[in-house]
């Protein structure tokens, strides 16, 4: 039941990214919307709770994308590890630091993607359009990413509260 909180937003984000956003052409150059979610998992959730979710998410994204199988799992795993490492130095409660975490996250993910392309394709080179795409991703990530993280945190708290209240009530009913 606890995983429902993760699965439904993830499914919504995948649909949003692969079907709804491409429909509106002007938003086509947006960044991977699952990145803030993975960063959220890294910032506020435990490893045991997050790992199955990020592997499932990575697997679904790998299936939908034409990249080599395992690329998204790799990217999300190292992004998660990177965030867990970053929070050793940053105070996660401070929302003004979220843009920095977002930028770091996008840089980690992009580096993994570009690094994989460079390893697998000897003819790969970083062109001007790739630099423009990365800059555009960073811009959108700084502008919108922190809000996504705040919304996830707020919804997660509300969900947990509702979930505990509901089950505590049931527990009391059964106890009586």
């Amino acid at each position: 039941m606890r995983y429902c909180f993760y699965i439904f937003p993830c499914l919504f984000l995948v649909i949003l990214q692969s079907t709804i956003i491409p429909y509106f052409g002007f938003l086509d150059n947006s960044y991977d919307l699952l990145t803030p979610f993975i960063i959220y998992l890294g910032l506020y959730c435990s490893v045991g709770e997050s790992l199955p979710i990020l592997i499932l998410l990575g697997f679904i994204m790998d299936n939908l994308s034409t990249g080599p199988l395992g690329l998204y799992i790799t990217a999300y795993f190292w992004l998660f590890v990177g965030v867990k490492w970053i929070i050793k130095f940053l105070h996660v409660g401070n929302i003004f630091l979220l843009p920095i975490v977002m930028v770091s996250g996008i840089i980690i993910e992009t580096s993994i993607f570009l690094g994989t392309f460079a390893t697998l394709d000897p003819g790969f080179h970083i062109s001007e359009s790739i630099i423009n795409t990365v800059l555009s991703h960073l811009f959108w990530a700084v502008c919108t990413g922190p809000f996504f993280i705040i919304i996830y945190r707020f919804s997660h708290k509300k969900w947990n509260k509702w979930f505990h209240e509901r089950f505590a009530e049931r527990g009391r009913e059964y106890g009586e």
Binding site: I15, T19, I20, D62, N63, L71, I130
Partner: protein, 273 residues
């Protein structure tokens, strides 16, 4: 120290897995279809809802420019009728000449129309998901086109959905030729929706605006399908090839419906005794 060693081992294993999966990308595997089977129904519902909303907007609220558009369409129709008549004449003369030369009759293509229900979630890859799969007769490797030109090739098929690699993807390659000069090359996807025409010898005269069509030699796409037009030619002092940039005729951002060719040409190499 242990953590560093574990990290290095993990990275090495990761690189090995990625290189293995990237090499086996074209081989059929069922694991790759699980995600499509799980997510595609939701994508289909979302795509239908979006189209329904767009239809309502276009049919009931956005009627201001319809009269003007109607007049434009009538003019375009009269031009098309005239052109159609010319094409019929050319087609008839083509049949006569083929008979004279004893050419084999081309087999008419069988098409299956499909709707685009999703696009690649990654900005680094260019593919689409269509709402037709194995049960509809779609197989891996079939060419996908639209009236404007070549769209791509089916690379993965599940029961009711398929994944199509677009020609603008960096992993795509199509054997093509310049319609005017018949110079051959391989068209490969490049970022920003453009393509690169590779391996075109410097001696060939290629100009901006030249039409690029499929050569049919790759055994995937029928010969003569439009791909794009030349948008840039760079001839360096050194090297045996020239750099040719091609703009596809298809606007891949607005791709909504496609046609899958169910009976593409097959090259059977049989030695005559």
């Amino acid at each position: 120290m242990v953590l560093v060693v574990c990290g290095i081992i993990l990275i090495a294993v990761n690189i090995i897995i990625l290189s293995v999966t990237s090499k086996n990308r074209n081989s059929s595997n069922s694991t790759g279809r699980i995600g499509i089977t799980l997510v595609a129904p939701f994508q289909e519902v979302a795509a239908h809802l979006l189209r329904f909303a767009e239809d309502i907007w276009n049919q009931y609220f956005f009627l201001v420019s319809v009269a003007e558009e109607n007049a434009d369409l009538k003019r375009a129709l009269s031009r098309a009728i005239e052109k159609n008549n010319q094409c019929k004449e050319i087609s008839l003369s083509n049949i006569r000449l083929r008979k004279l030369l004893n050419f084999q009759k081309k087999i008419a293509n069988k098409f299956l129309s499909a709707e685009v229900i999703g696009k690649d979630p990654s900005p680094w890859f260019k593919s689409i998901i269509i709402d037709k799969g194995q049960y509809d007769g779609v197989k891996k490797g079939l060419p996908v086109v639209i009236p404007e030109g070549i769209a791509g090739q089916v690379i993965d098929v599940s029961a009711h959905y398929s994944k199509v690699l677009l020609i603008i993807d960096q992993n795509s390659a199509v054997d093509v030729m310049i319609q005017r000069t018949r110079a051959r090359g391989i068209i490969k996807g490049e970022s920003k929706g453009q393509c690169l025409l590779k391996y075109v010898l410097r001696k060939h005269d290629i100009r901006v605006g030249d039409v690029v069509v499929s050569s049919g030699l790759d055994g995937v796409f029928p010969k003569g399908l439009r791909v794009g037009y030349v948008s840039g030619v760079i001839r360096r002092n050194a090297g045996i090839f020239q750099e040719v940039t091609v703009n596809p005729y298809i606007d891949f951002e607005k791709l909504e419906e496609v046609l899958v060719i169910l009976n593409p040409p097959k090259h059977v190499f049989v030695s005559k005794q």
